[in-house]
């Protein structure tokens, strides 16, 4: 059976070209992300760094790590998606051939094996190309990470032999996951279908589509419901899941939307060509839905994620602005708390020093409760912050996901210390989850200070003159904080977009090209009925653009749903949240999608109509 798989694969290589590129790219991205990830988990830090510098480096590595993890995840997901839609195409297109196999004594299981074999071949070839591509892809990823200062310039990831096996495993795994649904559908092809000219139009909204769509919609609702309990740093991964589950769900329901869009389009386009395009669109619901699928995924992931991180950081910036009431911020290289307090005009100095509470536990901040309250506006939900002395703790209510804090309970940290909860503070999106009292007299290793001062401008000048550290006003500091948030988001999006957009481009072009090749006989029939070649091309173009519209619409719905979920869970946490819609990005997406699909559609229709119509109208393939 594997030999036959190889023959059918070779015979229809054009069909598999897009899937091959997707697998190769997916394997390359997974391999390079994995190598970088492994190197960043346990980075070699140069000797002689200050605590702050090495903390900073570590934070960068950590951010790079979670970013790479996400790229890995998205690359795998999209590769499976592209391969899956390609195989769905081949099964729809080859129904007669598969039925012929059944007529000649092929069992259901053998049909499955034929497709699994094709997927295996695709996976192996794709991984071979992917392993080779891995090097250049890694250099590109490293360049992105370095230029966004996630990692220092000297950071590099050594080659590891075992990664080849992982890559091959991923390639083959992607192929087999992608073919799974198609193989099931192939097994259901009945022998009699070999005799029907038009394959089985059948029901497009199959039971499995309903089940899949409903299942993932349910999963989406669960994720949104779980949102408020999630630690803020895990939120991005959660939103990514949200985009994907919604995309899968809407993709399953896509055939329901196609006729609706057809009807709307029918109101807009006039004339016989437009009518023909609308009719084709509605007749080929399955084809229309699968062509729209990659765009749907692209728009939902890119739009949903961009909107989510923007909304999230806007909420964090606003929360921070609401919380901080200090006049000045000082960042110093060494403890300068006492010196700052001695500067004339300074009324309050609140040191920010982090205390490690142990592995997998939120960091605590050691504070002087009086000074902290004088520089921060936070009303405890229960208890009293002034009771924060000796072995006690004040906790944000969402500091430990899944744990509900009560005043008076004893908290045992992984370090072994037991702390009594004296106050429960409202939940927060950023900042420390736990506050512990600063040991009296020891100003900790902290290097950030919030100050209240009588005449801030003069005090700032005095601190600068004394060379105690870098001073900024509250407003300037908040601006810088917001800019940093934006910059981080952009780096994240750049990395995700790069991978995602490339895939969607492959998939969309792939779908249009395959679709047009499949329709030679139909185009020929249209020309025999009196349509000129340009008219056929134009009809196909209207259809393709309608498909783009469907993809954008459904993808927009998924992105909108994600954004709604994110806003909803942020609102549950912080009491306010306004969705930030990435309009500029949306505009670019639409433009690129239209240009890509238009080019692909016109080129492939021209190619499919190159041979005179008479010779093709009767041809079956």
């Amino acid at each position: 059976m594997l030999r036959m798989s190889w023959q059918t694969f070779r015979d229809r290589w054009q069909l598999f070209a897009g899937a091959f590129v997707a697998v190769a790219l997916g394997v390359a991205l997974v391999q390079s992300s994995l190598l970088l990830l492994v190197a960043s988990v346990d980075p070699v830090l140069p000797a002689g760094l200050s605590q702050a510098q090495s903390d900073n480096l570590r934070d960068g590595y950590e951010a790079a790590g979670s970013l790479l993890g996400m790229v890995l995840f998205i690359a795998g997901f999209l590769a499976v998606f592209v391969v899956g839609s390609t195989f769905a195409f081949t099964v729809a297109q080859r129904r007669a051939e598969l039925a012929t196999l059944r007529l000649n004594g092929g069992s259901r299981w053998q049909l499955r094996r034929l497709l699994l074999g094709e997927a295996l071949i695709l996976g192996l070839l794709g991984s071979a190309a992917g392993v080779a591509l891995g090097g250049p892809v890694m250099r590109a990823q490293l360049a992105v990470l370095r230029s966004n200062s996630f990692v220092p310039a000297y950071f590099d990831a050594p080659w590891r032999g075992w990664v080849v096996w992982v890559s091959v495993g991923v390639g083959v795994g992607v192929g087999l996951c992608g073919v799974f649904g198609a193989a099931q559908r192939a097994a259901k092809v009945r022998p009699l279908e070999a005799l029907r000219e038009t394959g089985a139009a059948g029901r497009v909204m199959t039971a499995s589509r309903w089940i899949l769509g409903t299942l993932f919609l349910g999963l989406t609702v669960l994720i949104v419901a779980a949102g408020p309990d999630m630690a803020a740093e895990d939120a991005l991964g959660l939103y990514l899941m949200l985009c994907m589950t919604l995309a899968i769900s809407l993709n399953a329901f896509a055939p329901l939307v196609v006729p609706l869009v057809g009807r709307v389009l029918g109101l807009v386009v006039r004339g016989p060509l437009g009518e023909l395009a609308v009719a084709n669109l509605r007749a080929g619901v399955r084809r229309t839905a699968s062509t729209a699928a990659p765009l749907l995924v692209l728009v939902s992931i890119v739009g949903g994620l961009a909107g989510s991180v923007d909304t999230m950081s806007a909420a964090i910036v606003r929360e921070t602005a609401d919380t901080v009431t200090a006049d000045l911020r000082v960042d110093a290289d060494q403890p300068v708390g006492a010196a700052l307090a001695a500067v004339p005009g300074v009324t309050v100095v609140s040191a920010e020093s982090f205390v490690n509470m142990g592995e997998d536990y939120p960091d605590a901040q050691a504070v002087d409760p009086v000074a902290w309250q004088a520089t921060h506006r936070v009303a405890p939900l229960a208890g009293d912050l002034s009771a924060l002395v000796r072995s006690t703790v004040a906790a944000r209510s969402n500091a430990l996901p899944g744990h509900t804090f009560r005043v008076g309970e004893d908290l045992v940290t992984p370090n072994g210390t037991t702390l009594r909860v004296v106050a429960v503070l409202p939940p927060a999106l950023s900042g420390p989850g736990l506050l512990v009292p600063a040991a009296p007299g020891t100003p900790g290793p902290g290097t950030g200070y919030w100050l209240r001062a009588d005449r801030p401008a003069e005090v700032a000048a005095a601190i600068r003159a004394a060379g105690l550290g870098e001073v900024s006003t509250r407003a300037d500091w908040l601006d810088a904080f917001a800019a940093e948030q934006r910059r981080n988001n952009q780096a994240v999006l750049l990395a995700l977009l790069g991978a995602g957009a490339l895939y969607a481009a492959i998939a969309a072009v792939n779908a249009v090209v395959i679709g047009a090749a499949d329709r030679r006989a139909e185009f020929a029939a249209a020309r025999l009925t009196g349509l000129t070649r340009p008219q056929v091309v134009r009809t196909a173009l209207v259809e393709s653009l309608a498909v783009v519209g469907i993809g954008l619409l459904l993808g927009g719905m998924a992105a909108g749903g994600t954004l709604y979920g994110v806003t909803h869970s942020l609102a549950a946490l912080s009491g306010y949240a306004e969705a930030e819609v990435p309009w500029a990005l949306a505009g670019w997406l639409i433009l690129v999608a239209v240009v890509l699909v238009t080019t692909a559609s016109v080129a492939s229709t021209l190619a499919a109509t190159r041979i005179p119509a008479v010779r093709l109208a009767g041809s079956r393939e």
Binding site: M4, Q7, T8, R10, D11, R12, A96, E97, A99, T100, L101, R102, L103, N104, G105, G106, S107, R108, Q110, R190, P191, L192, A194, L195, E197, R620, E621
Partner: protein, 241 residues
Amino acid sequence: MTHAVELRAVHRVYGRGDTTVRALDGVDLAFPSGSWTAVMGPSGSGKSTLLHCAAGLERVTSGTVTVAGQDITKASDADLTRLRRTRIGFVFQSFNLMGALTAEQNVALPLRMAGARPKRAEVREILGRVGLGDRLGHRPRELSGGQQQRVALARAMVTRPAVLFADEPTGALDTKSARVVLDLLRELVDQGQSIVMVTHDPSAAARADQVVFLSDGRIVDSVVAPTVHQVADRLAGLEVA
């Protein structure tokens, strides 16, 4: 005398309510072994449905179907698959060859599906018998319609089936190619092969040993040792009626 295929009180009904179509309405028919039977009838008379039901490609609504002594009325998909591997062969108007495979590989396909390792000589011999000994390595798209149908015929015969089902085997061929295919079928019958063929072409039907006529899902007539004129006249009579 044993029968290659036997249909007893076979009904096949499509749809329900107002849109009910009785494609087969109580067909009792036995196709004798080692002989060639043509099934004729006007369009929509149910002749294709008859062939599909007789070959186990479609389930009957009621009645029983026996192929080579095996009752297939309620056979499972696995049973029917086994039947197709060992007891029956198909030839269709549309050839239904695998585009990716060569003529030789297409012919070997049923054997490979059945898990056998096809002998090269055997496959070549059978292709030689249909006059394509020099086209072994050609793919279907490199062959003419008549040649493709002969490959399909060789493929159907390679398992030495008890019954060969042919649905308009000459429907897509020019007269010359059609005659070659019909001559091959005649040769097979003379060697003892049972053939059930559906056609609307009187000259093809006249090559068979007997012709049964179907109208509105019922057997209405039959002719043994038919001539082209007999067949054409009866068919014309049915179409007028």
